[in-house]
């Protein structure tokens, strides 16, 4: 007996892949794009209707039942999550949300390295904030990376206009970029998840670090295979008739962007949180927040006013500018961090110092629009 008739499946599929993204556009156009990234599934209404709730449940179960303190405590968990991200940022976002709720609400964190007898406020700042940090880091793999790959793929497909050649080259370029970013993500996440322990002045559990450091090539490989799976599905979707739409209606909103000051404060807070694993005191965190806010002022107010420089720099493909910032990080590691490691330094401060110049470079090569779309 069928679970549901065809019209119910069609309606549910369109709800997940069209109506909810359309409604999300009232909050953010970026969120709409994320929620639609993976809508090749619409070619199979049953899959399009079932995949979102199943992936959300899958993330919830992983969050509730994963071994250890964080997602990186188990390589198979990491590989499963990486595989979901390979199929698109929408499914990745659902997996990340499910994981976050499962981990925060259902996973037993008591007695796993956390101190007892601490006030609720203390737990909120030290445990919950550190966990939220891990969810933002996880979203980097599951949401940001696939969307960057989609952007690369779509641009490649637009450049190579010939049908199947463009299709395959696009997926090859996008897949390689996503796998490479997944590899970098794994390397950096090993350092960025440290607040789970360092906020309690404890040494990190090496069992939760090694799967990231040791498993990075596997995470990249699984990501690449998942993207290949997505390519096959997209190819098959293109051979099927377009899904019916008996109620054509297009909603679009352009929200007034937040004041640039608010965006600078928010991004500085987010990036300070992402780098929290490298601090040994609140003073260091405060100093970095102020520095990042200064870079934000540069990026939002000073550099956008420097015409025609902005027009020239914006002609350089975005991916090259991003890669230049990553290359800056690589160079600074050789100049600042490696010598500190050779001296046997225990402090992570050299890493924080080394991150500043590439972010200064980012302020100059990734200027925000003067009006700021902020979407």
């Amino acid at each position: 007996m069928p679970l549901a008739d065809a019209s119910t499946l069609d309606a549910t599929a369109r709800l997940f892949w069209r109506r909810i993204p359309g409604a999300a556009a009232r909050l953010s156009e970026t969120l709409r794009t994320v929620l639609r990234d993976g809508d090749y599934l619409l070619a199979w209404p049953a899959a399009a209707a079932l995949a979102p709730p199943l992936v959300l449940l899958f993330g919830l179960l992983l969050g509730a039942a994963h071994p250890g303190l964080v997602f990186s405590s188990s390589l198979p968990v990491l590989l499963l999550l990486a595989a979901v991200g390979g199929f698109g940022s929408s499914l990745g976002l659902l997996a990340a949300i499910g994981y976050a709720f499962g981990d925060l609400l259902l996973h037993g964190h008591e007695g796993m390295g956390y101190a007892y007898g601490v006030s609720r406020f203390g737990t909120l700042l030290r445990t919950d904030l550190a966990l939220v940090n891990t969810y933002v880091i996880l979203a980097g793999l599951l949401v940001v990376t696939p969307l960057v790959a989609t952007s690369v793929r779509r641009h490649t497909q637009t450049l190579v206009r010939s049908g199947s050649a463009g299709f395959f080259l696009g997926f090859l370029a996008g897949g390689l970029v996503q796998a490479l970013l997944a590899y970098f993500w794994a390397q950096s996440a090993a350092f960025m998840i440290r607040p789970v322990w360092s906020f309690w002045s404890r040494a990190p559990d090496i069992g939760s670090i090694n799967p990231l450091q040791h498993g990075a090539p596997w995470i990249a490989l699984v990501t690449l295979l998942a993207v290949a799976g997505r390519a096959v599905l997209t190819l098959k979707a293109r051979q099927r008739p377009a899904p019916p739409n008996d109620r054509p209606y297009v909603r679009f909103s352009m929200r007034r962007p937040w004041p640039w000051q608010a965006r600078v404060v928010l991004r500085s807070a987010l990036f300070t949180l992402l780098l929290a694993g490298l601090f040994s005191s609140l003073l260091e965190a405060g100093a970095l927040f102020v520095l990042l806010a200064g870079l934000g002022v540069l990026q939002y107010r000073v550099v956008p006013a420097m015409q025609p420089y902005v027009a020239i720099v914006n002609r350089i493909p975005l991916l090259i500018r991003i890669a230049a910032c990553g290359g800056g990080g690589f160079l600074m590691a050789a100049l600042v961090v490696q010598p500190a490691i050779n001296r046997g330094s225990a402090s992570f401060l050299p890493m924080v110092v080394a991150v500043i110049p590439p972010l200064l470079l980012a302020a100059f090569v990734l200027p925000k629009p003067a009006g700021g779309s902020g979407r």
Binding site: P243, N245, G328
Partner: protein, 157 residues
Amino acid sequence: MNHRVRGICRVAVTAAAVAALPGPVFADNCSGLSDCSVGVKIGLVLAGIVLAIVLWEVFAAVAVEAGAEAVLEAGAVDALELEFSETAASHAASRPFMESRLLIQEIMESAEPIADPQGALNTLRWDVPGTFNGSEGTWELVVNTVDRIIYHFNFVR
């Protein structure tokens, strides 16, 4: 067992063997910078951290460039490939929605087009009901699907 299954088994066994081989020595204590960097190329780590931050920075811009993952039948129009005619582009300042490729893709996907009523060759027109910033109206889109040029794009209340 056919050849394909045997081949898959061989690949799986080889992969498992490679995974089981002793790898480089990694950190055994991540409480300090030097301890946490054993067996790790710190340049890759720092590049990864910079990318983790920069990618969040450019996320909105990347999303705009990603446009829509077109659920396209082969040969259908892809919004990312379209360019505006000079006349259409001259309205960009007063029609900020023109920068959204996703919107253009949604309009094209949401309804069947008609041949351009003005009779332009290879040109289709979409008139789709919808909202812009909450106001009800109609999205109008006219595209030359061969030359990939948008002649007209507007929202009429």
